[in-house]
Symmetry: C2
Subunit: 278 residues, 2 copies
DNA sequence: TACTGTGAAGGCTTTCACAGCC
DNA sequence: GGCTGTGAAAGCCTTCACAGTA
């Protein structure tokens, strides 16, 4: 169990630590100096951004920290603190101007230019990722697909050709891919990752159940569905014990009371189907 | 933008706060009292568990904190601290007995009994989740599938019938579903969630881009792929700025040097394809 | 008046470093 | 000698509470 020499730091999806020297200074009208955005804040900014987009679609002009916080699932103090890292774009007594704040967050996250995405491993999940329309709409066009299965190489998904893994360096170079999604089985992941890195890809989202070793200039984040389920299972078990120790109850269908009407931000009508990644 | 009365706490995937009163006491030979496992530790225990499983398959009897930490992507101090929350199962001067530690973590996470899983929303992602074989192998058999699209209701995926969303309460009750995966479009998610909760489901993994409102006894975790990509994009942008300010370089394929051989724990041969969620 | 922006306080998590044990 | 288990220190992150402003 010793490791290869090019050991790097792993990405963990729910990363614990570290703040970020995020200078927003850029060509043209520079924003107030704004530095050191905490990692945790960056993740939430992405959420605020989406909610602001929805608010804008609904025609809202301004939003208070309380409102935006509620739909984003945080408390208003945290939201204000988060926004304070990118500058003072609010109006006291009023709130935030929706479109302007949207723009500022977009700029801070570096979303003013598109990032070409490659998906490697067109299995169940890879196929779903390749077919997901939402990435392109958010500035992440899926631009290349790879696998080694001869039955898959050559087919098109959403108009994109599946190519052989051996062509990763050439294709990614040609198309300027900057983000790679690794959706291969575990044993293949490191090899694929190395090829992506060799092709100049600097950011990798890893769905494979291994810790990828990368050089320091490459950023990895990990999404691990099995871990998510196990954390949930832990909470089920805890709850069950608490119940057993506390109010003894029947076992099946215990929760009962709760309004069964819809209550999402957009209303309550059913529309289950369609493309549903993310 | 006011909220429905049954507001609960949101789940955030990368949850920030809170430790957990995880008593391990149980019928039979009780383990040392072991309480208050931090949330962050629980998530990592799930990773250690998987790595221990792989080590066991490879025939390892013992493993040191350093080795297990490396393959899990953490440092050894953190690993030892994490393990100390569940008890003292290591042997000084030697390491941990692989099978015994595996068992202890399994017990702590409440994985000694199976949890039936329902997937709601059989779109791109839902289909991938439904077809993923890995859940069943880890004690999370996918037991029910739901959608409202008439073209989907009635078909089978991996031998499981897709049923109508309106039957969630009945079917989940009958089959003892304890975990629900919400993979619907945003607008449908809250309604579906309410039905799952009414059916007695206590844990929900939410892939929809909304914050679900649930009563306090229900646990929600959120997986948001768009957010993951945006966080990566932020790092790309940051890096690009640093580069522009520092060593001026060519733009395409800059990373270059790196061994292109495989180096995952299991070896380096290619085998890209097959079922590849998580 | 209503709401933002932010120092300060409090918690949680990670890291350090070393005592204790095999 | 080597490795685990763990107090203590340090670092992040969240929450509080209120000054400041449109």
């Amino acid at each position: 169990m010793t490791l290869p020499p090019h050991a790097g730091r792993p990405g963990t999806g729910a990363n614990g630590t570290g703040s970020i020297d995020g200078r927003a200074g850029r060509t043209g009208t520079a924003a107030p100096v704004t530095r050191a955005i905490p990692e945790a804040t960056v993740a939430r900014l992405a959420v605020y951004l989406r909610m602001l987009g929805e608010l804008a679609e609904q025609g809202a002009d301004t939003v208070s920290s309380e409102e935006l916080a509620t739909v984003s699932g945080v408390n208003s103090a945290k939201l204000r603190k988060d926004l304070s890292y990118i500058g003072s774009y609010g109006i006291r007594g009023v709130g935030y101007e929706v479109r302007s704040l949207h723009h500022q967050i977009e700029r801070t996250l570096g979303l003013d230019e598109q990032q070409a995405v490659a998906v490697v491993g067109i299995g169940n999940l890879g196929h779903a990722l390749a077919g997901y329309g939402g990435f392109g709409g958010r500035g992440f066009p899926v631009t290349a697909l790879f696998d080694i299965d001869p039955d898959l190489v050559g087919i098109h998904i959403n108009g994109i050709l599946v190519e052989h893994v051996r062509d990763i360096p050439r294709v990614c170079g040609e198309r300027g891919v900057t983000i790679g999604l690794v959706a291969t089985p575990g044993p293949a992941a490191q090899s694929v990752c190395d090829q992506l890195v060799a092709a100049g890809v600097r950011c990798i989202l890893n769905f494979a159940p291994v810790v990828l070793q990368v050089p320091p200039q490459v950023e990895v984040r990990k999404v691990d569905l099995a871990v998510e389920l196990q954390v949930l299972a832990f909470h089920v078990a805890r709850r069950r014990e608490a119940e057993a120790a506390g109010v003894l109850e029947g076992s099946a269908a215990p929760v009962a009371a709760l309004p069964t009407n819809g209550s999402g931000p957009t209303g309550g009508h059913e529309a289950v189907n369609g493309t549903a990644v993310s």
